[in-house]
C-alpha cells in the first residue's frame, strides 16, 4: 500500500481538510504518513500545495520527488496544472472545474480544461455543483476526495471512518453531509474513469 499525492488549490480553499481526512484514515490503520503543508504568506490567496505520502513502509522524504506522484488532487482547475512535473507517467489528475479567479490574467477556462483533457488519466468534476446537488454545499472538498478515492491505494471504508473521526465532534448531521459528498464524488469518478 503506497500513495504519493499532491494536493493543490488557492490559499483559503482548505486543501488541508482533504489531507487531514486521508491522514486520519491512514493513521488509524497504522500506515506511515508524511504530509507537508503550506503556512504563512501564500495562504493569503496565493497558490498552495501539499505533499501527502502514505505507505506501509517507512517514508523518508517529506517532499515527493518529481515524476513520482501517483495522484494530483486539485480543488481549482488552473492550480491542477501547476504541479504536473510531479505527476508520474501513469498518474491520475483529479480536479475541480470551478475556477477561483483572483488574478487579472486568469486564462480562459476552456483552454484550461483543454490542457486537462490532454492528460491520459484525468477526472474533471464540478465539485461545487455536485456538493449543492447532495445538499452539502460546503463539502466540495469531500466531493473531490470522493472523486480521487478510486485512485487511492487505501480501502474506501477507511475514508468514511476518517471523516467520522474528524467531524465527529460536530455531530451526526455534519458527518453524514460529508459522507454524502464523498460518495457522490466517488460515483462520478467511477462512472467517468472508463470513458
Amino acid at each position: 500500500m503506497k500513495s504519493d499525492i499532491i494536493l493543490s488549490g488557492v490559499g483559503g480553499q482548505g486543501i488541508v481538510s482533504i489531507a487531514a481526512t486521508i491522514s486520519m484514515a491512514a493513521l488509524e490503520n497504522n500506515l506511515f504518513i508524511k504530509q507537508s503543508e503550506v503556512h504563512g504568506m501564500s495562504q493569503r490567496g496565493g497558490a498552495v500545495q501539499s505533499h501527502l505520502r502514505i505507505s506501509q513502509e517507512e517514508i523518508s522524504s517529506d517532499l515527493i520527488p518529481l515524476g513520482k506522484a501517483d495522484l494530483i488532487i486539485s480543488v481549482e482547475p488552473m492550480e491542477s496544472l501547476r504541479y504536473l512535473p510531479w505527476l508520474s507517467e501513469n498518474g491520475w489528475l483529479v480536479t475541480n472545474t470551478t475556477p477561483f479567479i483572483n488574478i487579472p490574467d486568469y486564462p480562459d477556462l476552456k483552454e484550461i480544461l483543454g490542457e486537462i483533457e490532454k492528460l491520459p488519466h484525468h477526472i474533471a468534476i464540478n465539485a461545487d455543483e455536485i456538493a449543492r446537488q447532495v445538499k452539502s454545499p460546503r463539502s466540495s472538498n469531500m466531493v473531490m476526495l470522493g472523486a480521487a478515492s478510486p485512485f487511492l491505494d487505501l480501502p474506501y471504508g477507511f475514508l468514511e471512518s476518517g471523516i467520522k473521526k474528524i467531524f465527529g465532534k460536530k455531530g451526526e448531521k455534519v458527518v453524514q453531509l460529508n459522507i454524502d459528498a464523498l460518495k457522490a464524488g466517488r460515483e462520478f469518478a467511477i462512472e467517468h474513469k472508463k470513458s
Binding site: M24, E37, M41, G45, S60, G67, M78, L84, D108, E115
Partner: protein, 539 residues
C-alpha cells in the same frame, strides 16, 4: 502508546512539555509559530499552567526564558531565523552566563524564503555562541531532541540551540511519546554572580565556556544522533545534516545506500567521525538544508581538501531549499519528468484579503501621495507588506521589523518631505516604539501610519500586545495628542481619511495616524466560534 499525528513544530512542543518544560516564550514567525500555539492549546500545559503567552518580541522572549532558567526551571524560547537577529544580544550572552534550569532556543529557518526576507542559517549563530546545536532529521527526532535537549542543557550548563527548517516544521508524521517528566522546582544558581556579566566575571565565565568546548565535541562524538553508516562503495562518502538525510534515503529505497554515510544531528561537528569518512572515501558530498555550514568548515580557506563537494562547487545550488531531486542529481541520478506545466498557467501571488482594512488605508494613502510625490513611503513586515504589489505599489521598503519608522526618520533627516512610515500594530510594539521615541526626541517630521487590525495577522491571527493601548503608548512616548489621529478604514470614509492624511503630511513634526478596524480573518473566525458555541448550547 498511541501515535500522534503532529507537525514537526508541534512535535517539538509536545517533546518540550513531556520533557518537563515550565515555560515557553516566543514571538510568532513562520515557520515557528505552531510550537507555541500547540502549547497554548495543550491539556497538560493548561493543567500545569506552563507559561505560554506571547512575548512582545524575540529579545524579550529570550530574556524571559533565561529568567525562568535562572529560577531553576526548564524553559524554551521559539522564533523564526530572523527573530534570532533581534534576540542575538541576549542569546550570545546567555552562553556566557550559562543556565540553571535547562534552556532550549528553538529557531526555525526558512530556506527558499517561503515567508521570509532572507534564508540565513542559524547554525552559524549556534557556533558563534559556542553552544550545542541539535538538528533533527524528522518529526520523531524533533520530539526526542526537544525532550532530551533540557538534559543536555543542564548537563553542560549552557543553552542548547534546536534548529529546524520550514519543511520539517510544516510536515506531519506519526510521533511516539516518551513518559511525562515532572517540572523542576525553583532553585537559585549555586553561584550568586553567575549571571553578572561585569568584565571581571564575564572573563571567568567565558574561559569556562571555552573550557567545556572539548566536552561538547565529545558529546557530539558519542551522540546517538550522529550515526556513521558503513558502505562498500568508497568512491563517495556522504555527510547528511538534519533533514537532508531524508532526501538521501529517498534516493535509496530500503536504506540501500552503497556509500558510507555520516548523519549529523548534533553539533559541534563530530571531529573523529568526520575524519574517518573523509579518510575512507575518495570524494565527500555534503548535504545540508541551508548554508554550506559543514561544507565550508571541511574545505577550509585554502581548500587543501579539494575532494569536498556540495553547494560550494555547484553540484548543489548555492541557495534555496534542498529536496530529493536536487540530491538525486548530485548523486548523478536521472530525474524523469513526464508532464510539463502548460504555458497558460499564470502566477498567483498572495494578496490582501477582500474586506481587509489595509486595502482602504492604501487607497487613501495612494490618493494623498499623488499630491506629494513618489517613493516617500517606508514600510515594514506584515500582511500590509502586500501593499508593495499591484494594484497598490504603495510602499518602497520592507527590511526588518520596526525599520519603517527609523528609515522614514533617516530619510526625513536627509531632507525628504513628507516622510511616511506604514507599520502594523504588532510590528509597532515589537520594534517600532523605540524608533518612534527617536523621532519624538528630535521632533523629526515623519508621519507614522499604524495600520491597526488588532491582531498579528500575517502569522495567523495571534493576539497583539498593541491592542487597546496604541494611543496611550504614542502619547506616552511624547507624540502630541492632537497629532495622534484615529481613523476607521472603510471605503465610505475614504475622503475623510485623505483629508486627515493630507493635514498630517503637511505637519512639520511627529504625527501618528491609526486606521483601526479588525482583521477580516479574525473577525470571521470569532463570528464562527460564537455561532458554534450557540449551537452547542442549544443541543
Amino acid at each position: 502508546m498511541e501515535k500522534l499525528l503532529l507537525l514537526g513544530a508541534e512535535a517539538i512542543a509536545q517533546g518540550a512539555i513531556d520533557g518537563g518544560m515550565s515555560g515557553i516564550y516566543a514571538y510568532p514567525g513562520t515557520p515557528s509559530t505552531e510550537i507555541t500555539e500547540y502549547v497554548q492549546n495543550n491539556k497538560t500545559a493548561i493543567e500545569r499552567n506552563i507559561h505560554r503567552q506571547w512575548s512582545a518580541n524575540e529579545k524579550t522572549a529570550m530574556e524571559a526564558a533565561l529568567g525562568m532558567s535562572y529560577a531553576g526551571k526548564r524553559a524554551m524560547v521559539c522564533m523564526k531565523h530572523v527573530g534570532l537577529n533581534v534576540a542575538a544580544d541576549a542569546f550570545i550572552n546567555s552562553a556566557i552566563t550559562g543556565v540553571n534550569g535547562g534552556l532550549i532556543v528553538t529557531v526555525a529557518d526558512d530556506p527558499s524564503m517561503h515567508s521570509s526576507q532572507n534564508e540565513q542559517d542559524s547554525r552559524f549563530f549556534g557556533k558563534f555562541a559556542m553552544i550545542p546545536i541539535l538538528e533533527p532529521s524528522n518529526q520523531q527526532e524533533a520530539y526526542d531532541l526537544a525532550y532530551e535537549g533540557f538534559d543536555l542543557s543542564e548537563k553542560y550548563k549552557v543553552p542548547v540551540l534546536l534548529r529546524i527548517t520550514t519543511r520539517l516544521s510544516h510536515s506531519r508524521a506519526g510521533i511516539e511519546r516518551q513518559p511525562l517528566k515532572s517540572e523542576n522546582k525553583i532553585s537559585y544558581p549555586e553561584d550568586p554572580i553567575q549571571f553578572v556579566l561585569l568584565p571581571s566575571n564575564a572573563r571567568k565565565r567565558y574561559k569556562g565556556l571555552l573550557a567545556i568546548q572539548s566536552l561538547l565535541e565529545q558529546a557530539s562524538e558519542n551522540s546517538d544522533y550522529n550515526t556513521y553508516y558503513p558502505g562498500r562503495d568508497k568512491s563517495l562518502g556522504i555527510i547528511a545534516c538534519g533533514i537532508a538525510h531524508n532526501y538521501l534515503l529517498e534516493n535509496f529505497p530500503g536504506r540501500n545506500c552503497p556509500h558510507p554515510v555520516l548523519q549529523i544531528a548534533q553539533y559541534p561537528i563530530p571531529y573523529s567521525k568526520i575524519e574517518k569518512i573523509v579518510n575512507e572515501c575518495e570524494r565527500i558530498l555534503v548535504l545540508e538544508d541551508g548554508y554550506p555550514f559543514v561544507e565550508e568548515q571541511l574545505r577550509g580557506f585554502l581548500e587543501i581538501n579539494s575532494k569536498i563537494i556540495g553547494r560550494l562547487n555547484g553540484i548543489i545550488p548555492r541557495d534555496g531549499e534542498l529536496n530529493p531531486d536536487i540530491v538525486a542529481r548530485a548523486l548523478g541520478k536521472e530525474v524523469k519528468i513526464y508532464h510539463s506545466v502548460p504555458e497558460i498557467v499564470k502566477n498567483r501571488p498572495p494578496e490582501l484579503c477582500s474586506g481587509c482594512s489595509h486595502r482602504d488605508i492604501y487607497n487613501a494613502l495612494n490618493e494623498t501621495m499623488l499630491e506629494f510625490g513618489k517613493q516617500k513611503v517606508f514600510s515594514d513586515i506584515g500582511c500590509y507588506t502586500l501593499g508593495a504589489l499591484p494594484p497598490w505599489n504603495a510602499i518602497n521598503s520592507c527590511v526588518d521589523m520596526g525599520a519603517s519608522i527609523t528609515m522614514a526618520k533617516g530619510a526625513a533627516d536627509a531632507g525628504i518631505r513628507p516622510s511616511v512610515a506604514v507599520i502594523g500594530d504588532s510590528t509597532f510594539t515589537h520594534s517600532g516604539m523605540t524608533a518612534l521615541l527617536d523621532c519624538v526626541y528630535e521632533n523629526t517630521p515623519v508621519t507614522v501610519i499604524i495600520s491597526d487590525n488588532s491582531t498579528t495577522a500575517m502569522t495567523g491571527g495571534q493576539a497583539s500586545h498593541a491592542t487597546g493601548r496604541l494611543e496611550e503608548i504614542c502619547i506616552g512616548l511624547g507624540v502630541k495628542p492632537e497629532h495622534v489621529r484615529v481613523l476607521t478604514p472603510l471605503p465610505k470614509y475614504h475622503d475623510e481619511m485623505v483629508k486627515v492624511l493630507r493635514e498630517e503630511l503637511n505637519y512639520e513634526g511627529v504625527s501618528v495616524i491609526i486606521p483601526r478596524r479588525e482583521c477580516i480573518q479574525t473577525a470571521t473566525k470569532t463570528k464562527k466560534e460564537i455561532k458554534v458555541k450557540n449551537v452547542e448550547v442549544q443541543s
